[in-house]
Amino acid sequence: MTYRRIGLVSIAVLIALVIIAFALIWRPELTATAEGAEPAYGKDEIARGYALAQLGNCESCHTAEDGAAYAGGRPLDTPFGTIFAVNITPDRETGIGEWSPEAFTRAMRKGVDREGAHLYPAFPYTSFTKIDDGDISALYAYLRTVPAVENEAPENALPFPFNIRALMAGWNLLFLDAGPVKAVSRESDEWNTGRYLVEGVTHCGACHTPRNALGAEKSSDSLAGAEIDGWYAPPLAGDGARAWNKPQLAAYLSAGFSRDHGAAAGPMGETVTNLSKVAPADVTAIATYVASLTDDTSPAFAAIDNGVPDDLAATHALWVGACASCHEAADGRANPSYGVPLSVGFALRGDKPLNAARTIVGGIDAYRDRGGPYMPAFGGTLTAEQITDLTQYVRARFSDGAAWEGVGDTVEQALSEQNEGDGQ
């Protein structure tokens, strides 16, 4: 083969590759909806869409702090940079008012916006792709009914090369398994509903599944627990999640509390608040499916109280005066504030002090208006050193784990993120 010929072949291959790449990357802009031509949506469809929006935590991500609902602007910190959630209200200029049902479906299934640009998987289309047509339509219908708000979300702060959206085409080749899930016939309808929700709209894996170097959920470690936003989302599958049964999960997911496992704190508090607004049957289905991911007949984690740690005797006074009223009721008397003996929860079993330290700093106040677990924030009351000691105290006393590393740094980090006046 001559060089010339090689050159021609190379050019041909290159052209072919460009065409293939173009075909892979390029997505057409879809026609904008006509202004004012909004069809009437059925009340049932809107209600279903509203429930799906709650299940999907849509409002939580697409609403900035103190911002209008669904108007975008909330930052999401990723290892690749900061991505800002966009405005998904029906505003035609800054929201998704011009999006047709087809455009919306393409975004949900393929991660491509109406204009044809690739979205980043911070928007969990790898999960939403599993939502069926009817539910996507319902979600679309609901989002058409939320008040239109003019609000341009800030530009993403992503360094090169992550700011090249076209790269997502390759990422999608690797990690996007488009299309709805298929029912497993040997399982119950409730189980299948639960799986459909968990793998799809509720996108539990977005927090609870560890991610690979390219930011994709590791399918081999599905729901095995992961670090997210400075918290650790506990495992929902495997041995780490054992002793969670369906009634406990159902209670936890709808009320934020299980007597046997404690309270839903941190970001999960918001999730539970959203789940409290959907039909109990959906929550039960999720509980059914998640319970099936572990051996729920295995024994519960044993209650642990190792007594006051010798090296933290001075911290014991903090425990008695600040914590014990809710976490150490004598023999069977009810704990106020839905407090639990600390060894029942996940926070003290984990390898890192994230959840324990952050909960002490920021408290739990997701349930104030409807009743539910509550804990005051001690970040404004106790010093970083006192909170650090307290974190080590509860680890040593109420778990069998080794003393945590880096507690002080975690506490400082949590304190720096705390809004002044939070909780108290």
Binding site: A317, L318, V320, G321, A322, S325, P376, T381, T383, Q424
Partner: protein, 151 residues
């Protein structure tokens, strides 16, 4: 154990169980009535005082955590024995029914205005929400905060 705490500008040496919450030191040892026992759980805010510029629930703050720190109670807002600015705004609006929550409310307002001298109505509502009132004096309290912010 003895802990040295500054309360309303005066140093006090508090003796006793180090786990004892500040509330009991204020009420039973220093003799200040302003901070009230409401729940002992940090849920209602009747015990609210300011510690080093932060509003805290004194019912859940052990004295052992407070060595060398400065505490302000509603009594500490008096100016030459007369009602201070926030006090006077509450008095002018007659913003108390039973009044049991009010000393805590006053401290919450003080804290709010210290960090935001001109709060919007929205900021007042969210800034006050940690404190409970059972008599339904909220509307009068909101007027008092607005008045205090104006003066």
């Amino acid at each position: 154990m003895s802990v040295s705490i500054e309360v309303n500008g005066t140093r006090h040496d508090i003796d006793g169980d180090p786990s004892m919450p500040l509330l009991y030191a204020l009420r039973d040892q220093i003799g200040l009535r302003g901070a009230k026992f409401g729940c002992g759980l940090g849920q209602c805010g009747a015990c609210t005082v300011i510690v080093d510029g932060r509003a805290v629930f004194s019912c859940l703050t052990p004295i052992s955590a407070l060595e060398g720190r400065a505490v302000t109670t509603t009594e500490g807002l008096l100016e030459d024995g007369k009602p201070g600015k926030v006090h006077q705004a509450f008095i002018d609006e007659q913003a108390a029914q039973c009044g049991y929550c009010i000393a805590g409310m006053v401290m919450r307002v003080q804290h709010l205005l210290e960090r935001n001298a001109d709060p919007t109505d929205e900021e007042i509502l969210t800034g006050m929400q940690a404190n409970l009132c059972r008599c339904g004096t909220h509307a009068a309290i909101i007027r008092a905060v607005q008045r205090a912010a104006r003066t």
